[in-house]
Symmetry: C2
């Protein structure tokens, strides 16, 4: 199974140092010694009580793989030498029955990593040394328990034998002997069990259990190395983008025993509370126990504060050490310790994981304690922490009430944060169908696959019975920013019956459930969702205030309505980066006029076009007869237009929409008084405002098939014909954005008029506004030039009426590759650029956002062809390259060009970092992501402070 032949190889004249005694290493050697190795080295150096040991380097691990899974030359000799030092320091000897040295063997990569081999304790025991241990400790039960644990652990972890095989035997003994707890088994029973365990090993591996302690050590070291390339570890690294060539270190450390009596024990503790951030020791300990007892949850540990009563001196010493470690590492420490016969040993220390709330409080406290700088505090808080604090959530009291009422079904793995409530639906098709009808649904599946994605998209949240944090459901839900609980294994899902049950509780399809993606709780029935109260998050506000001092990027928000704008401002937005005018078009009272405008536009525009052109020609010096001729033609064109019902309907619709839009803009501009508001002119393909082609077709075909008179469905038929004439094969690449403005300038003239009339009205009322008019989908500077020629006169005319100056800008979205590629030209006609990275990603990849996710993108992510959806995290290599070019070329043309981003990437931390790096002026995100953006922007500024200077 595991090949260890290094010992047989000639050692050669190798000079590489593969092995470091703890006292030879230091805390900053994480690359070489791994996190654990560097931690114990640091503690050893600091004079803390650490059991002696040594670390085999990550370099040795890489050499092992390069050497076709053989220890590199010289390594084993160095291990033997280090072992001799350990023997000298401890006064014990490895494999010596009279005074045996026992060691633990642990993996330790640079980053803490699930899926790696954890720990083998008590290594060095065999049938002889166990007797010596019994004699020395005068405690045969302890010795045989240690031996039993060792064989079991070694068998399971190093030799890969399923745990059940050992558990069956152990439980069988307990049953037969009527033992309730493990501690009820006596030395003799444990001795027999150990022999049976060794039999299991012989049966499973075909070889006897290795009794030579050096052989045990060799196998354990190789097993640690091998676990680095185990499937789970590789998957984890792929998912977390950790390079595969870091390698893992191996830590070999003298055993100390917490189970040597009531003056012994073991525990784990944080230097501060990782739930709340409170500055007090937090953790638990268990007298007369070894670490695995705590982990296994066989006995209930005591809170750490109790230790003060049990072992006051040890407690005091531990508290001092915790404080010292915090001062050394300048962060919360997560520590493991053992007390052997009254003596405290520190086994490990590492930076403590913490909740969002704790992260924020600890960061703020540590600044106030003078331990860290504001910059460090800002870096200590993850953007995801901010996000979590601002996501809708369930109230603790509601949850508790539900638990008390027996409605907590189970707690699964929290895979994507946030609270979701909806009808449990067990099939993606039905989930999609019911969601499309407006119902809130939660998709519940044993596990998900790409075939389920179309049901995940419209669901409120996702719940699965199988899979972990990197399962399909988890990855895809996180990618979509949708709450998910996965691996809720207690759920018995019956797809045929469309139910799921836990114990006696059964949830039928359609029953409402609530899931908390931040905690993993699954609750029957509806819990009220609570919007976060930003103003109450005092410490978060402090972190963000520091972030605001540090960041260079502006943080704006995308908002279509005054209420969103006000929310955004409350959350710190410094402007509106995208106000979509067409969302206003969709409102019920307006849609009829929008449709009237669209349906009359083609014919009306054709009649109005010559009028516009003739008017243009009439400007400037003209010969009298030329002027007369043009005027005559103008009168004719005007008469033709006046006689056209289409023109009448078109202009009437535009007039009505002007009223609506003006009042919309008054609202949003007033809400953002003094701040810039970028308003985008009409963008989507017009058919989006019209009834569905398919529905109309069905109605007309059905009417025809049943022989109804033509008059009965004439209206549908006419509408169908109109919709048909506007249909496009690929509407995303069709008549949209500025193309509409060029064909139907009256529409965007109306919008420009509405915006600037609103600004003028507010100016008269003393409200200062900064409207910026954004023209979407430009691909060539000629388009922008043509449209500005239509809009500038309107703008001048409207603002000329104001008694105060009304400032405005014209600019464009950069959202198709050609705009980025020709940005230098486009900047000559644009006062600002805003990257529409949703569309830019679409065209740069050739991915239709409407379809790609369900049709193939989810499968791509599943197959690791893409690490993450480029619609979530900005693709730097492709889309980013275009952006970089556009910023450079645009600014080369117009030095004061304002450049920002309004695609959904504007709220994604990695994308924000990139926007900082390429020198954008601001990012714009949905209001609730503004705080995330503020933090991410500050972090980017700190991380790239050096390169900032170079720019």
């Amino acid at each position: 199974m595991v090949q260890v032949s290094a010992a047989e190889r000639p050692a050669g004249a190798e000079t590489t140092k593969w092995v470091y005694l703890f006292r030879e290493g230091s805390a900053d050697m994480r690359d070489l010694l791994g996190g654990k190795g560097a931690g114990v080295a640091g503690m050893t150096r600091a004079g803390l009580p650490v059991p002696p040991g040594f670390t085999i380097t990550t370099q040795a691990c890489n050499a092992y793989f390069a050497n076709r899974n053989q220890f590199p030359p010289g390594m084993w000799d160095q291990v033997l030498a280090a072992l001799r030092t350990l023997e000298q320091e401890s006064g014990k000897r490895f494999g010596d029955p009279s005074n045996p040295l026992l060691v633990s063997v642990r993996s330790g990569a640079k980053f803490s990593m699930p899926g790696m081999m954890d720990t083998v304790l008590n290594l060095g025991l065999n049938d002889e040394t166990v007797e010596g241990l019994a004699r020395l400790t005068n405690n045969p039960r302890f010795a045989y328990d240690a031996y039993r644990r060792f064989v079991q652990m070694f068998g399971r972890i190093v030799l890969d034998i399923p745990a059940e095989k050992f558990d069956e035997v152990f439980e069988g003994y307990k049953r037969r002997l009527g033992a309730k707890a493990d501690t009820d088994l006596d030395a003799e029973a444990l001795k027999q069990i150990t022999q049976e365990f060794k039999e299991i090993v012989r049966r499973e591996t075909g070889k006897p259990f290795p009794s030579d302690p050096l052989e045990q050590l060799r196998l354990a070291i190789a097993a640690v190395f091998d676990s680095w390339m185990g499937k789970r570890a590789v998957d984890y690294r792929n998912f977390n983008k950790i390079p595969h060539d870091l390698g893992t270190a191996v830590n070999v450390q003298m055993m100390v025993f917490g189970n040597m009596g009531d003056d012994s024990g073991t525990g784990v503790a944080f230097s501060r509370n990782p739930e709340t951030g409170e500055n007090a020791l937090y953790g638990e300990f268990l007298p007369n126990a070894q670490g695995e007892d705590v982990v296994a949850g066989i006995r209930t540990p005591l809170p750490i504060s109790k230790m003060q009563q049990v072992w006051p001196d040890v407690y005091q010493q531990f508290r001092d050490i915790a404080h010292r470690l915090e001062q050394t590492y300048r962060d919360v420490q997560d520590m493991e310790f053992t007390v052997e016969r009254g003596k405290l040993y520190m086994l490990q220390t590492r930076t403590g994981k913490r909740t969002a709330k704790a992260a924020v409080k600890i960061a703020v406290d540590m600044v106030q304690e003078g331990l860290i700088s504001k910059e460090e505090a800002v870096l200590r808080v993850e953007p995801s922490h901010v996000e979590q604090l601002l996501l809708p959530r369930f109230e603790q009291k509601d949850k508790q009430a539900a638990v008390q009422a027996g409605r907590l079904l189970t707690t699964g793995i929290p895979a994507s944060p946030g609270a979701a409530v909806g009808a449990a639906i067990f099939d993606a098709d039905r989930a999609e169908e019911r969601a499309l009808k407006g119902e809130r649904v939660i998709l519940v599946r044993p596990e998900t696959s790409p075939e389920d994605v179309h049901g995940m998209i419209p669901a409120e949240g996702v719940l699965t019975a199988r899979g972990g944090k990197t399962s399909h459901a988890a990855v895809v839900a996180r990618g979509m920013g949708k709450p998910a609980v996965v691996g809720a294994e207690a759920l018995a899902i019956d797809l045929a019956k469309r139910t799921m049950s836990v114990g006696n509780t059964t949830i039928a399809e359609g029953d409402v459930i609530s899931i908390d993606g931040s905690t993993g709780e699954v609750i029957a029935g509806e819990l009220p969702k609570i919007e976060p109260r930003f103003s109450e998050e005092r410490e978060l506000a402090q972190i963000l205030a520091w972030a605001d001092e540090i960041r260079r990027l502006g943080c704006w928000a995308n908002a279509d309505y005054p209420r969103d704008a006000r929310k955004a401002r409350e959350l710190g937005a410094e402007g509106i980066g995208l106000c979509r005018t067409e969302h206003m078009f969709m409102e019920e009272e307006r849609l009829p006029y929008v449709q009237q405008m669209i349906l009359s536009a083609p014919e009306a525009a054709k009649l109005l076009r010559p009028i516009r052109q003739l008017r243009e020609q009439l400007v400037g010096d003209l010969a009298d007869d030329t002027r007369a001729d043009l005027e005559r033609k103008l009168r004719q064109a005007q008469a033709a237009a006046d006689a056209s019902p289409a023109v009448k309907r078109y202009l009437e619709a535009l007039d009505r929409l002007l009223e609506f839009q003006r009042s919309d803009f008054v609202g949003i501009l007033e809400a953002m008084e003094g701040l810039p508001v970028i308003i985008r002119l009409i963008d989507p393909p017009l058919h989006e405002f019209l009834p569905s082609h398919e529905e109309l077709l069905k109605r007309v075909v059905a009417a025809q098939a049943t022989g109804q008179p033509a008059a009965a469905y004439a209206e549908d038929a006419a509408l169908l014909a109109a919709v048909e004439s506007m249909r496009e094969q690929n509407p995303m690449l069709g008549l949209r954005g500025i193309r509409l403005g060029i064909l139907y300038p009256e529409i965007i003239q109306m919008q420009t008029r509405a915006i600037l009339e609103a600004a003028t009205e507010l100016a008269e009322r003393g409200v200062e506004t900064r409207p910026e008019i954004m023209i979407p989908l430009v691909g060539d500077v000629a388009e922008l030039r043509a449209v500005r020629r239509e809009l500038e006169p309107v703008a001048r005319e409207v603002t000329a009426k104001a008694s105060k100056a009304v400032h405005y800008k014209f600019g464009t979205m950069i959202e198709i590759p050609r705009a980025a590629l020709t940005a230098g030209q486009i900047a000559s006609e644009a006062e600002f650029f805003s990257f529409g990275t949703n569309d830019l990603t679409q065209t740069t990849y050739g991915f239709s956002r409407d379809d790609a996710e369900a049709k193939f993108l989810a499968y791509y992510m599943d197959q690791k062809l893409l690490p993450v959806s480029p619609f979530q995290v900005l693709d730097r290599a492709g889309v980013g390259k275009l952006m970089m070019m556009a910023v450079q070329d645009g600014r080369a043309t117009r030095q004061d060009l304002e450049v920002g981003i309004c695609g959904e990437h504007g709220g994604d931390p990695s994308s924000i970092e990139f926007c900082h790096q390429i020198g954008l002026d601001y990012v714009s995100a949905s209001p609730y992501r503004v705080p995330v953006a503020r933090l991410a922007a500050a972090q980017a500024a700190i991380r790239h402070a050096g390169s900032e200077k170079d720019r």
Copy 2:
């Protein structure tokens, strides 16, 4: 109207030379003197008999506009000085009744340009000088005729008075006096007419006709300048991309008279035949006439050869001059001359326009005569000439027969070359409708507008009654490469009756007509279209052979079938740059299997996927139990697949298609023996192979509405559901290309197998092949890596069976922006790149090719927002920039990367030039465009020979 105030301005100390006597200029001063000015200067210098004169520079024209339409300081004084020289040289004086100097005034820009002011003759006449002229020539009729012509011309051209005003009066006189020809009017009548003409001028301009010759000259010069900025001239320059700041020169030249008796005359002639290229004088002359008589076609001129009999000495002198000019300019000359009382004057010479046939013959002849080099010959032939020679055309004899049968309806303006035959349809909607039913149609409209484009797209050709070479119909048809005749004004189109008529002939809608876009002929009924006989074009073959020696770019062809491949090879193709496998799928006997494959693919692929993945995991060293476990899972997966009807249908369809495709590839590879053949794996969205969604929907809805039992339409309903599940919002950006290959690797494995089995079979038969397998739509190197991992084993397995080596390559299309942006990475997995510029243009612009043209692109071109469709001529600023990056980054990764283009731009000369410049290895175009590409590639090599060395 025209402001001339320069004379009143102080001349200042200007030193700029605004005016050049002919003898001060030279033939190479086109920039400053314009084409005409440089031509007469050259002739003057060469000692040819040119009437003396001077040229006002293009620089003066620009200064005039910069000076707010005033002559620049000093210019008028220089004109007066030059005039004095003219007076001295001619012995006559301007405005002197005793011996008046008369001059012509002509515009002359660097490039010959319609829409510019042409010529005012006889300037200097007034009521006094006309008397002197009559006395001196002893020919009052001649003098008054000259005066009459001058006033008329000046009024029309300089003073902008409509020509009809003069024509009415003139025709009135002729009628009243019973004069049949102009020459029937006597001196007295002409005198009266002249006075009436002057009255017209007074009436129309409010001022008397200017009698001061200097005033006449000033006005005429200003009018020439003004015409540079006239609408037609500006439009023409915009269309032809001629800069607006070139300016026009003004040529003032002493008048000579061809109408002074039978020993006088005028003519135009080419130094060689511009129709056939034959090396013989070609042209016509008219005794006793002035130039405009020839142009107006009032009298029928005589062929130039007749001049030998009439004036043998003059003929001999003219022939010598023609020869000398050809030697000087090293090209065919188009000359104007006048004979005044037996003395020959050369008025103008310029490079002669010629037909395609003549261009080719003249170029070849001139090389053989030692007059020009092969490179010059290659540059003398336009790519459009080659195209024209290779377009389907009508046979001359068929045309003559039609003319004799009275079937020639009219001859319009030839606007887009080629022959077209089809039913005349008078409305775009009906044209589209009938064309979609498979009928060949010709869209006939009074004129076209963007609303007609959807009817132009499927039409064979376009015919309009109005508009010129830059009209909407002409521009759009040329853009589409579709034959068009425009401005056929003789056609009376009655849209209401759906007819068109010429004289007594009426063509009703649906009647077949034939149009020749190369000549403008419109013929009733069907003429047989003749494919060009390339092998018979001996001189073209010679030019192309020279081109082949010169060019660096390879010229390949796009071909899907063996017959196309053979054709391409005959036309000089050196490889197949694009063979589309899916076209083969569309054939009748295959489509059912293709549909079977598509409909079973989603389910089958899901079942086959684990088998593939488990097989991959089973490769390499594995622990025995791991292997056993994987083998067990593999057996289970295999059993599940074996039990699935979908898998059965899928594999069965793939097997059948393998047979078909293998024989297809044998055919095309054999046809291209020894040459590379790039075969593209399946590319289009799958729904393109399935029945129309709309049709199925209509059938099912109708069946449901009429209450048919479900069983009656179950098949349609099932198919509808399948088609619906594959539908996409934007199929162009959807599940296509490599995305299909990743989801359904079995399909591309089948295709790869078919290609290489074909190559292997041919290798066994001793036929050397060079297949290159092209994977479309790659956006990220990970996609390509994944697909190559599926295909390489198939390729190795198949080719391993061959007894001879079978060489093949894997490569990719660069057709989405991200592929170009990350080409450096992609080249690590691709042995060749082929730019798919159709798709690349789509995504770079965000234009759907299916819709854009009809929905807005035609309007864009109409409004000059785009000079030409980017689907026709490669957009260098955007798409080209991406290509340039891709070539550089790709070659940086893989030095020997083969790079070509297979989009339709591969046959467009401007695009080919760009491909040469950025260093592509080859261009690939449709077979008939290969000769065009060969020529264009050679021209690019010649034009960029300097920069070539720098690369």
